[in-house]
């Protein structure tokens, strides 16, 4: 059984409601505050704690990372893959350091776990790529961000 809602005569003829609705639309469209920005030209200020693109901090060109494997251990997405090795000037260093960004959930736990202040998440959030890619060590060693 259908229950008919009780409606007043004004609602039944629709017109006043349509006028009210149109007025709200017109008010917001012409006089309201804009929600969008002209993105590539204009940019928003994000918090300095934003977790964006990864990088490995270097000091005098030497990476801080000692391949202790704490970041792959703590990573919930299992997106960090490190192979450790030895070289004359550094007892243990990462031969390869890969961050599979497609798996990464930007939780920042790697940064938190790192005992050597090596892996960092910068402020860069524009990370779209033309192909699916893994951040390799050379790419990660570019110093970006100010943390």
């Amino acid at each position: 059984m259908l229950l008919k809602p009780k409606t007043s005569i004004l609602q039944k003829i629709y017109l006043p409601d349509i006028i009210i609705g149109l007025w709200i639309t017109i008010k917001n469209f012409f006089f309201g505050k804009k929600v969008t920005i002209q993105y590539p030209e204009e940019r928003r200020n994000y918090s300095s704690r934003l977790r964006g693109m990864h990088y490995i901090k270097t000091i005098n060109g030497v990476e801080n990372c000692t391949a202790c494997m704490l970041c792959p251990t703590v990573c919930p997405a299992e997106c960090i893959h490190i192979v450790a090795g030895e070289r004359p000037d550094k007892e243990k260093y990462p031969i390869s350091f890969e961050v599979d960004v497609l798996r990464c959930c930007f939780c920042g736990m790697c940064e938190e776990a790192c005992p050597k202040d090596a892996i960092k998440l910068s402020n860069i959030y524009e990370m779209s790529m033309l192909k699916r890619s893994v951040y390799e060590k050379d790419f990660l060693l570019e110093q970006r961000g100010h943390k």
């Binding site: 202790c68 494997m69 704490l70 251990t73 007892e91 050597k116």
Partner: protein, 473 residues
């Protein structure tokens, strides 16, 4: 039995037992560095000091035998203060390079520092450093991490029976090294890394390969010789990274020889055949299982076959072979093979004074129980050989007679083989073996077989199944 009271718990003990062991039995753990149940007692780390009623000072639990009615307290403020002090003292000169160190995750110093030590450090002085020299192919020394527990010295003296490790200089400058910095000579060098409570002595082969907390540990039995030492296989995702000894006081105590420790290498070796292969001209062609089994059935038709069973197989597998093979092919005789020069168990004997045996395969005694004899010479009627190998037995000279191999084969040792059906190694199967004392030991599968390798029972199942399909057609 006499009784003592530890932390209010009543504990029975045999006269002469020290407090650490008695406490361990009632579930109270007393931390220690220099003590090791199989080594002599020096009581020099002082970590195990406990309070004993009616004794004015703290007593080291490792060197104090329990006596009747002794009242021991291991968690009083005095004991804790001592433990904190010892930890601070040991960490004064420790480099704290846990991110680099391979021991971290299973390091006594790390664990006890977390549990009994302070989380801050008062010292700001420069740490003592050493220059490390190479001490051989097995062990990497890092003297900076050493806490001078001297377990390694006592192991060399008391167990390995070779005086190669010494402590030079004195007091703060003490340094553990080999005599004249010669490389280590003992065949038991891997144990130095196991007993070292810090990362001071670590295994070169395992260096930086894997952090220990990733490794999955499966108890197994070493297949290196007829001693059958108990060990643990540490693997991750199908790759075996290392083997460490497992305590069994009746067989290997706490130790493992280097041969057994590094025996696992062939499991993940590139040299191992893991696909069914048929020889054509000079090289092996990989094929699928049905082709390989069809071919091997054809191969054995009308040929008198001598079956060689490696004494590195398990009891279950040998029994399966003895039951299955005579029904499928015409068998001339069964023999076992394994170590050149050790044909029967009476040829076997200790190869050194510690663990090693002359028979380099694990199940020589079990295979003899099943009635096989050692392979000396083959009958002239032999038209073909069928060789079963578990990965360790050394295949004897077969005189160029065409051979089919089932089991684990390296690419280098298969000269006159026609067909290879890849089998499983000791870490990829369950089984039972008998050691030289007749002790029956079971072990469990640790990893899955790589590539196309199959268990012997699966191979035989395929063999029988394919035959049935052909007969029906």
């Amino acid at each position: 039995m006499p009784k003592c009271i530890i932390n209010g718990k009543e504990a029975e003990f045999k006269p002469g037992e020290n407090i650490i062991e008695v406490a361990k039995r009632v579930g109270i753990y007393i931390p220690y560095y220099c003590y090791h149940p199989a080594l002599s007692i020096v009581a020099q780390c002082r970590m195990c000091a406990v309070e004993i009623e009616k004794m004015p000072k703290l007593q080291t639990a490792c060197s104090t035998p329990a006596t009747e009615g002794m009242i021991i307290k291991t968690t009083t403020e005095r004991v804790k203060k001592n433990q904190r002090a010892i930890m601070e003292f040991l960490l004064l000169n420790h480099p704290l390079d846990c991110p680099i160190c391979d021991k971290s995750g299973e390091c006594d110093l790390q664990d006890f520092s977390f549990q009994y030590g302070d989380s801050f450090m008062r010292s700001s002085e420069e740490r003592r450093t050493y220059v490390d020299l190479d001490i051989g192919g097995v062990i990497k020394k890092n003297m900076n991490r050493c806490i001078h527990c001297t377990r390694c010295l006592r192991f060399a003296e008391g167990v390995a029976e070779i005086h190669e490790m010494v402590a030079v200089k004195r007091g703060n400058n003490i340094e553990i090294s080999t005599i004249d910095d010669r490389p280590l000579e003992t065949d038991y060098a891997g144990n130095y890394a196991d007993i070292c409570p810090t990362g001071s002595l670590s295994i070169k082969d395992f260096r930086f390969k894997k952090r220990v907390w990733y490794l999955k540990k499966t108890p197994t039995v070493c297949e290196g010789c007829s001693r059958g030492c108990n060990m643990e296989v540490h693997e991750e995702r199908g790759t075996v990274y290392r083997c460490v000894p497992r305590v069994n006081l009746e067989i290997n105590k706490y130790w493992l020889c280097d041969e057994g420790r590094f025996n696992f290498k062939y499991v993940n070796s590139e040299n191992r055949l893991t696909e069914p292969s048929i020889k054509s001209a000079q090289k092996f062609d990989f094929c699928d299982w049905s082709t390989a089994i069809e071919k091997s059935r054809e191969f054995f038709q009308g040929k008198k076959t001598t079956v060689l069973v490696g004494s590195d197989l398990t009891q279950e597998e040998i029994k399966l072979i003895l039951d299955f093979i005579p029904k499928q092919i015409s068998v001339l005789s069964f023999f076992h093979y394994g170590t050149p020069g050790v044909l029967f168990s009476k040829d076997d004997g200790p190869a050194d004074r510690i663990l090693k045996m002359k028979s380099k395969t694990s199940n020589l005694y079990g295979i003899e129980k099943l009635g096989l004899t050692g392979f000396e010479k083959y009958s002239p009627q032999t038209g073909a050989f069928l060789v079963f190998r578990g990965g360790r037995a050394s295949v004897p000279d077969l005189g160029g007679i065409p051979t089919v191999g089932i089991g684990v084969f390296q690419k280098t040792i298969i000269e006159n083989f026609k067909i290879i059906l890849p089998g499983t190694t000791f870490v990829e199967k369950d089984g039972t073996i008998f050691n030289f004392e007749g002790v029956e030991q079971k072990f469990k599968r640790a990893i899955l077989p790589p590539g196309q390798s199959k268990n012997l029972s699966e191979i035989f199942m395929l063999w029988a199944h394919l035959g049935a399909a052909r007969r029906a057609a």
